[in-house]
Structure formats: structure tokens, C-alpha cells
């Protein structure tokens, strides 16, 4: 089945997807950031690894188009949730265990990732609504342009030279006159 599905995907589409995946620099940057953070404080790295678990899991499991955007969206929100605790650990290294095992802290960090997920779902909906309203505006403009052309050139310009054709008698159920 999997093989069949792969065959069904057009080659051009697959190339596009691969290209997007290759272009995403979020993963390497995240790893680089963690290494940099590890140099500054190992405790902070620990908090980051635990706190960023949803982003790491998502970046490893995510498939399909717009994977990078989804990972980045969740990732940025997840980072936003983790950053206050990293600052706290860096300030008070001895509080590491307390911070890590406090359920409220974990909920805060993972909740931020959940908000990121929510944004992934809500973003396209909002975009669809905005695009729809923009399209309506554009249609109005196009209609005005069309009307101006018809006024200038007459009905011929839309190919309606003789107006709507009258239905022939036979089609209206009338008998042909002798």
C-alpha cells in the first residue's frame, strides 16, 4: 500500500516537498542553540530538553506539506513557554529539580506548545476568511472593469451578438405549420 501511495504522488510534488524540508533550518538552529546553552549552563539544557519535548517529537514525526511552518510555530510557542524557566534555572541552578518536577511548570511549558498547535489549526482558518474577503473585493473591481468594457464595446464583446436565441417551435412542443 505504502509503495502504491508513493507511486501516486507526482514526482514534481515530491521534489517540492523535499525541497521545503531541506530548506527548514529550524532543527539545526535548535540543536546549535542547545549546544550554546549547554556551554553556558548544563542545568538550563536539561530544562530545555524536557520542556521542548513536544517540539522535538513533532520535528521527528511531522510529515506532509508545511511541516517546517508547523514545527516552527509549535517550536516558537514552546520556546516561549520554556524561556522563563531557563532564566529561572540559570539564576538559581539548585532549583533544577523543583522546577522540573513541578507539574504547574511542566503544564506551563507543554501548554505553550499546545497553544502553538492551536495556532497551527486556527491560522489557516483565519487566513481563509481573510483571503475570501479580499477575493470578494477583487471580484467587485473586476466586475466594474468588465462592465466598463461591455459598455464601451457592446454585447458583442462577450460573444452575445444576437442576444439569447429564441427556442425553436419544436422544442416548445408546437407543431410545424403546414
Amino acid at each position: 500500500m505504502a509503495k502504491k501511495k508513493k507511486q501516486a504522488t507526482p514526482m514534481r510534488m515530491r521534489r517540492k516537498i523535499n525541497k521545503r524540508q531541506e530548506m527548514s533550518a529550524f532543527g539545526p538552529l535548535l540543536v546549535a542553540g542547545l549546544i550554546g546553552l549547554g556551554i553556558a549552563s548544563l542545568n538550563a539544557v536539561g530544562v530545555a530538553i524536557v520542556g521542548l519535548a513536544p517540539t522535538i517529537v513533532l520535528s521527528l514525526t511531522a510529515k506532509g506539506i508545511n511541516k517546517a511552518e508547523r514545527v516552527q510555530c509549535v517550536g516558537f510557542m514552546n520556546i516561549a513557554g520554556v524561556l522563563p524557566f531557563i532564566a529561572m534555572v540559570m539564576d538559581q541552578p539548585r532549583e533544577l529539580m523543583f522546577i522540573l518536577f513541578n507539574p504547574i511548570n511542566l503544564a506551563t511549558m507543554y501548554g505553550a506548545a499546545a497553544v502553538g498547535y492551536a495556532l497551527v489549526h486556527v491560522g489557516p482558518m483565519l487566513a481563509a476568511i481573510v483571503l475570501q474577503s479580499l477575493a470578494q473585493e477583487r471580484i467587485k473591481t473586476l466586475n466594474q472593469q468588465r462592465q466598463a468594457l461591455i459598455e464601451q464595446w457592446g454585447a458583442d464583446v462577450i460573444g452575445d451578438k444576437d442576444g439569447p436565441e429564441e427556442e425553436p417551435g419544436w422544442a416548445q412542443g408546437r407543431r410545424p405549420s403546414a
Binding site: R70, F76, G81, A127, A128, R138, R146, D156
Partner: protein, 637 residues
């Protein structure tokens, strides 16, 4: 009978000219400017509207009217005042004065017959010869009253003739007046021709009756069939004075050394044989193909030398008989006829023409719509054939080659099917004075392009002018009377199936003529042309352009200037521009429709575009949140 209001009491008469008979314009001009004594001179001419089965415009010429009456009345009786003495004294002298004066002007009369001779006054002996301007020379003149050479041609194709012809006609008139009989009437052409050739015209017409005395000598001298022997003006003066020796008239040798039997008749005279061949060219072709032509020539014409060159020119192909008469056989018969009678007419396909008589023959053919005769004249317009005829008769008829040269620039149009050319063009080129004989102008006289434009303007007031320029006669008349109009007519002919383009081209053409001939405003014509262009204007797609063009047309319509119609409104260019812009507008509209259809569908969050843009937006929001939180975490207040 007409009345001269300017000079009351002057006797005049009016002659209504038939449009299909070409007048002798140079004769009119000469006689009007300097009238000749003893000739009925034209006083003036002009176009008049006459009631001839409906109002018709005709050329009317006013002539001086001799009041003494015709010497030979229409009832077939001689005027009571005519007698032998008057014939000998006053009539001959008056006629001689008239003929000599006419010849001095450089033309011949060629219309002298007893019914066309008049006493100038009721009580005098002075005689006038009738007018000679209203018809071509010798046109439909009786066979007996034409000199033998010219009489052999068709009655409408006798050509200019020469001054000797007038003296023959005078002699024949005097003979008829002497006997008091219409000697030219009631005689069969073929038997009279035979008699004229065998016994001379004098004896043939008189029926063997002698005219005694000096008058007989005069008439015999005038009616001599050989031009060299015929009496001229000096001979008549000598005869008056009684000093001249009466000339002997002899039968010049046109005889063959051996008679030739054709269709059961033995011919000795070459002219008669040529005429017999001309009357039945098919039989003649079979006869010529059935004989050994060089041997026949050697035996029949011992004085003639049939050179190889002449034999090749005559090109009588022996044998055959299979497959009937070929088209070239007619030309072969014609060449042989020319060989037999080199000074005679061209005998071709049953017709006989002098080349300078072709204009009147063609005009007559068109007036009777005789397509066969027009076709024969067209076939005659073969330069190789005419050159061969010229070569055959070169020794005895040097005028023939000059006439062929004169025909060359005209006959090239004959076979063309183009509008403005063809035989109609030949007709008007050969007869510059002939009015346009198109059916459209049956009620008006069109002698020039100016008159045509004015007539069209008048006609436009009462009826439509649809496709007027596609009329072959009108086109030919215009090209013959104007210069460089052929290209315009080619364009018009190419547009005949496109009414819109045809209207535009017609307007351009009339505008050009109006300007070229500096014509006054032609309101009706302009109105009709503008109306004709209304379809063109309606066909314009652009509303603004249509309104602008309509406004301009209305303005031009009021002015009556057709030329302005084309200079200010180049309809062809406007049409092209409109079509091009219309195509561009259609493309633009199609693009708009495509875009509209694309935008019209409902956008869903799952759509690639919405999804990508939504995710990018979300990512931006997340990034901003991250930056804010990070800033607040690391840089607390």
C-alpha cells in the same frame, strides 16, 4: 421644327441624337465655328429633357433649316423644281462648292444622298447638302450609294473613307435625280454587287439606261469604281468650262486568269470571290483546305508572285476536313480574302470591317446587345493576326498597318475580365464622344465624368445607388475618360462581396473624382454615400468611436463634400483600428472572466494557499510571542 428666340424668323430645326450612335465631334466643332456654304451647318447643341416614353435627357443639335424642301422626298418623288438643266447648272455647282469646302476642312461628308439634298430657299436654285455630324461616315448608308470598295463592308463599319467617296455619292445622287427614281431601293445586295463589279456601278444602278450628253459624262466620271479614275473637283470644274476631255472609265483588272468555282458559282473577279468567301467562311475554309493553294494561286493570278514569305503568312493548311472548322480557319479565310482584295475590308467570321469603322460597328453591336458581333470584334483583336493581314496587303494598302498601330493600345483591354476594362472599355476608348450607355443612365446623357457625377447626384435624390460602380459600362466609361482609375476599380471589384468595404471604397472613389474635377458640393450623392456608410458605422464596435464617426458623417452630409468624407474619415483605417481594439478588448474580458471564476470559488482552510499563509501568520505570531516572553524573562523590569 424649332424656334430661334434670339433671332426670330430664322429657320432652324432640332435633331435629337440617339445615345448609341457616336457623333462626329470634330465636324461639329469645325462647322459651328466656321459655317460652310451649301451645307446644313449646326448652330448649337445642348442637353434637353424630352418626353420620349418618359422624361429622357438627350443631346439636341440645332441646325440651319433649308426651306426649299428635299430634292428627293420621303414619298419617293423628285422635287418638281428638279430638272436636267438645274441638275447640270445649279445643283452640281452647289454640291461641288459644299464638298470642296468640307474637304478643305480636312474631313469627308459621306452622307450625300438624294433625300439629304435640299433647296436652300423655296424660290432659289441654291442647293444645300444635309448635315453629316450626327452619325459616323457612311453609317447605314444604302449599299448602292456607297462606293464599291466601302460598300463591301458592313453598313456600320465602313470607316472614314476618302474624298473620292463623296464624289461617288454625288454621282449616284445625280443619277437617281436624273431618272427620278430611288435607285438604291429594292435591290438585292448580292445581285447588285455582282452587277456593279461586272458592269460598273453606273450601269448597274441605271439598269442599262444611258444618260446622254454632258451630264452623262459627268455622272459616269463621278461614279467610276476605281478611285484613280473617279472624277474629282478639278475634273468637275473642267467639265463646267467644257475644256476638260471626258475621262474614259475602264474596268480595272481585278480579274483572275482562270475562274474559280465556289459553291457552284464561277468567280472571275477577285473582289467577288473574297466577298463570297466572307459570306460563308466555313465553306471557304473547306474549299481552301481542299485545293493545292500555291498551284491555285499560280494558275489564277499569273501576275502575282506568291513568295515563300507570303505563302507562310497566308498559312493555308491543306488537307484535313476532319473535325470540321477550326477557330484558326476563320483567320486563314480572312488572310486569303485580304490577299484577294487588299484594299477591301477585313472579312472575318461572316462580317466585314474597315479598321477605322470598328468604333461605329462596336457601338452598334452594344446598342443591339449583339454579343456575337462583340465576340467577333474581340477575336479580331489578335495582334499577330492583324500583323499578318497588314503584311498580306502591305503593297497595296499602306494605311492598314498605321490603323493596326492605332488599335494596339486599345485592343489590349478587350480580353480582360477586370472591372473598367474589357470590350466596354474598348467601346469608350474608340468612341470618346459616345455617352455612357449603361442601363442606369438610360434617361440621362453622360458625356463626361463631371456629367456622370452630377447625374449620380440627381439620381441619388430619387433612388438608391447600390453597386453603381460595379456596372461594367460605368467603370469602363470612367477608366476611358479618367486617368489612373484602373487600380481603384480593381480594389472595388475585389470588395464586391463585402458590402461594408465596397461602400467605403465607393465613397473614397467619388471623393477623389469630386476633388480631381473640382466639382461643386454634391449633397444628394453625399447623403446616399453617408447612408451607405451607416452599415459600416453600425458595424463599428466601439460605442464612443461610433458616436464620433456618426457626428462627423452628419457634419459632412450637410456640407455635401464627398472628398471631405474620405479625408476626415478614413473608414478603412477606422475599421481596421476598431477590429484590432475589439480583439484586444475580447482578450481582456476573457482574462477578467477567468480571474473572476478563479476568485469566485469558496476558499477553505485546507486550500494550499490559505494553509500556507495561515501557518506563516501563526509562525509569525509565535515568534513575536517568543521574543516578548524571552525579553521579559531575561530583562525583567
Amino acid at each position: 421644327m424649332a424656334v430661334d428666340k434670339e433671332r426670330p424668323g430664322k429657320d432652324i430645326y432640332a435633331l435629337v441624337q440617339h445615345p448609341t450612335i457616336p457623333v462626329r465631334n470634330e465636324v461639329y466643332k469645325s462647322l459651328k465655328s466656321r459655317p460652310v456654304a451649301n451645307v446644313v451647318n449646326p448652330i448649337d447643341r445642348g442637353l434637353m429633357n424630352l418626353d420620349l416614353k418618359g422624361q429622357k435627357q438627350r443631346l439636341v443639335t440645332i441646325f440651319e433649316r433649308p426651306t426649299g424642301g428635299a430634292l428627293f422626298g420621303p414619298d419617293g418623288k423628285v422635287h418638281p423644281r428638279v430638272n436636267t438643266n438645274k441638275l447640270r447648272q445649279s445643283i452640281v455647282l452647289s454640291a461641288l462648292k459644299a464638298i470642296a469646302a468640307v474637304h478643305k476642312r480636312g474631313f469627308t461628308h459621306r452622307s450625300i444622298m438624294p433625300t439629304n439634298l435640299f433647296f436652300a430657299a423655296p424660290d432659289g436654285d441654291e442647293v444645300c447638302i444635309g448635315e453629316c455630324y450626327s452619325a459616323p461616315p457612311g453609317y447605314k448608308h444604302p449599299f448602292a450609294l456607297e462606293p464599291l470598295k466601302l460598300a463591301l463592308a458592313d453598313e456600320t463599319a465602313r470607316g472614314e473613307g476618302d474624298i473620292e467617296s463623296d464624289f461617288y455619292q454625288l454621282g449616284a445622287c445625280l443619277q437617281s435625280l436624273y431618272f427620278g427614281e430611288a435607285l438604291w431601293r429594292g435591290k438585292d445586295r448580292d445581285s447588285l454587287l455582282m452587277a456593279r463589279v461586272n458592269q460598273s456601278s453606273f450601269w448597274a444602278l441605271s439598269g442599262g439606261r444611258e444618260i446622254p450628253g454632258a451630264l452623262g459624262n459627268l455622272i459616269r466620271g463621278l461614279m467610276a469604281d476605281d478611285e484613280d479614275e473617279r472624277w474629282g473637283a478639278e475634273d468637275i470644274l473642267d467639265w463646267f468650262e467644257g475644256v476638260g476631255k471626258p475621262k474614259r472609265t475602264s474596268m480595272k483588272a481585278w480579274s483572275m486568269n482562270r475562274p474559280t468555282s465556289f459553291k457552284g458559282v464561277a468567280y472571275v473577279d477577285r473582289r467577288l470571290l473574297a466577298d463570297a468567301f466572307a459570306r460563308d467562311p466555313r465553306e471557304a475554309a473547306n474549299f481552301l483546305k481542299g485545293i493545292d493553294f500555291p498551284a491555285w494561286v499560280q494558275l489564277s493570278f499569273r501576275d502575282e508572285i506568291l513568295t515563300e514569305r507570303l505563302e507562310a503568312t497566308l498559312n493555308v493548311v491543306p488537307g484535313g476536313g476532319l473535325g470540321g472548322t477550326r477557330p484558326d480557319d476563320y483567320k486563314m479565310v480572312s488572310r486569303v480574302c485580304m490577299f484577294l482584295h487588299p484594299t477591301g475590308p477585313v472579312h472575318f467570321k461572316g462580317h466585314s470591317f474597315f479598321l477605322d469603322g470598328l468604333p461605329s460597328a462596336l457601338a452598334d453591336a452594344f446598342s443591339r446587345d449583339d454579343r456575337d458581333l462583340i465576340g467577333v470584334i474581340l477575336d479580331l483583336f489578335d495582334e499577330r493576326f492583324l500583323n499578318a493581314l497588314a503584311e498580306v496587303c502591305a503593297e497595296r494598302n499602306d494605311r492598314f498597318m498605321t490603323q493596326v498601330r492605332g488599335l494596339r493600345p486599345i485592343m489590349i483591354h478587350g480580353s480582360s475580365k477586370s472591372l473598367g476594362r474589357g470590350m466596354e472599355r474598348v467601346l469608350y476608348a474608340m468612341n470618346p464622344i459616345l455617352p455612357c450607355v449603361s442601363q442606369r443612365f438610360s434617361n440621362v446623357w453622360i458625356g463626361s465624368i463631371k456629367q456622370m457625377m452630377r447625374a449620380l447626384d440627381r439620381m441619388a435624390a430619387v433612388g438608391p445607388l447600390k453597386n453603381v460602380l460595379l456596372d461594367r459600362h460605368i467603370a469602363a466609361f470612367c477608366t476611358a475618360h479618367g486617368s489612373d482609375l484602373e487600380r481603384d476599380f480593381n480594389k472595388i471589384a475585389a470588395a464586391q462581396n463585402d458590402p461594408v468595404r465596397l461602400n467605403s471604397l465607393s465613397a473614397e472613389f467619388f471623393g477623389m473624382l469630386q476633388r480631381r474635377f473640382k466639382l461643386e458640393p454634391l449633397h444628394n450623392l453625399t447623403e446616399k454615400l453617408v447612408d451607405g456608410l451607416s452599415n459600416t458605422v453600425k458595424a463599428l464596435k466601439n460605442k464612443k468611436r461610433r458616436e464620433r464617426v456618426t457626428a462627423l458623417l452628419e457634419k459632412v452630409k450637410k456640407g455635401g463634400d464627398v472628398h471631405k468624407l474620405t479625408t476626415e474619415l478614413n473608414m478603412s483605417r477606422i475599421q481596421v483600428e476598431d477590429s484590432r481594439e475589439f480583439a484586444q478588448a475580447r482578450n481582456a474580458l476573457m482574462k477578467l472572466d477567468r480571474e473572476k471564476a478563479k476568485l469566485g470559488r469558496k476558499i477553505l482552510p485546507t486550500d494550499l494557499d490559505a494553509r500556507t499563509k495561515g501557518l506563516r501568520g501563526s509562525r509569525l505570531v509565535a515568534f513575536v510571542v517568543m521574543l516578548l516572553v524571552g525579553f521579559m524573562a531575561f530583562f525583567p523590569a
